[in-house]
């Protein structure tokens, strides 16, 4: 086995094993996910901006991995402006709500 093959095997094993461990921890609650969607200002209800941010994150991550996995690709795929607007808008909504809660409501 050449050194390059050994390094490749190490990198693949580490990254995929670590990703599996974290995913398993999230799914089995070994990693704390309590309150991920909840309102932290006291009411305890589910916040829509958190839910939409989670959906946008998972959608973009899936799309990106899918693009990378397409056959013959040897460089990082470009992100088109539509996805960037979607992700930026989603994140902006989340941050705007936090700013509003922190500086306007309280």
């Amino acid at each position: 086995m050449s050194l390059i093959a050994l390094l490749h095997w190490e990198a693949v094993t580490f990254v995929y094993s670590f990703a599996f461990i974290v995913a398993y921890g999230l799914l089995t609650s070994r990693i704390n996910t309590k309150g991920l969607f909840l309102d932290k200002s006291g009411s305890g209800g589910i916040r829509p901006e958190r839910v939409q941010l989670l959906i946008a994150t998972i959608a973009l991550a899936t799309k990106y991995i899918s693009d990378v996995s397409s056959a013959g690709r040897t460089s990082f795929p470009p992100l088109d402006s539509g996805w960037l607007y979607l992700f930026g808008g989603s994140t902006g909504t989340y941050i705007a709500r936090k700013v509003y809660e922190r500086f306007v409501v309280s």
């Binding site: 050194l3 050994l6 390094l7 490749h8 190490e10 990198a11 693949v12 094993t13 580490f14 990254v15 995929y16 094993s17 670590f18 990703a19 461990i21 974290v22 921890g25 070994r30 990693i31 704390n32 996910t33 309590k34 309150g35 991920l36 909840l38 932290k40 200002s41 006291g42 958190r50 941010l53 989670l54 994150t57 998972i58 973009l60 991550a61 990106y64 991995i65 990378v68 996995s69 013959g72 690709r73 040897t74 460089s75 990082f76 795929p77 470009p78 992100l79 960037l84 992700f87 930026g88 994140t91 989340y94 941050i95 936090k98 700013v99 809660e101 922190r102 309280s106």
Partner: protein, 151 residues
């Protein structure tokens, strides 16, 4: 000639040593995580014990980029150039986390204690007091009624 051969052998030995060190480091880290010596329970949690969307998002995109990097390096047989799309993706994600943290810190009370903070060693003769103090903090965290619940 002999010096060249020795140099090449030394270089190969160093490369092999580096490979073995990285492999051993990876195995040790994974083993300690699996056996809970490295505790990941609060990986995406804030100081108040609640999970944070910004941390979760940063975690997801870090893995997405890491897996992409490994796959592309495998197919291209060289390190892929990092383009603006990757930088934008990680930039937005990291900025969300940083801004959220800034908002949280701007309203934080000094009494907040992270759930994973190691408990202080009880001093001799004051064990009861130390336990009582810890109990109060835990109850306060569970009640979660302070002003600083930015995430």
């Amino acid at each position: 000639m002999a010096n060249m051969v020795t140099g090449e052998l030394l270089a190969k030995a160093c490369e092999l040593l580096a490979c073995l060190f990285l492999g051993a480091l990876g195995i040790v880290l994974l083993f300690e995580i699996v056996t809970n010596k490295i505790d990941l329970e609060w990986l995406i949690s804030e100081d108040n014990g609640h999970a944070s969307m910004a941390r979760f998002q940063l975690l997801v995109f870090t893995f997405v980029i890491a897996i992409s990097f490994v796959r592309l390096t495998e197919s291209a047989k060289e390190f892929p150039a990092v383009n603006s799309g990757v930088l934008t993706l990680l930039g937005i994600s990291a900025s969300t986390y940083a801004v959220g943290k800034g908002i949280q810190k701007s309203g934080e009370t000094p009494e907040q204690v992270a759930p994973n903070t190691p408990k202080p060693e009880p001093t001799t003769g004051k064990k009861g007091e130390a336990d009582k103090s810890n109990d109060v903090k835990t109850t306060s965290d569970e009640g979660n009624q302070g002003p600083a619940h930015a995430d």
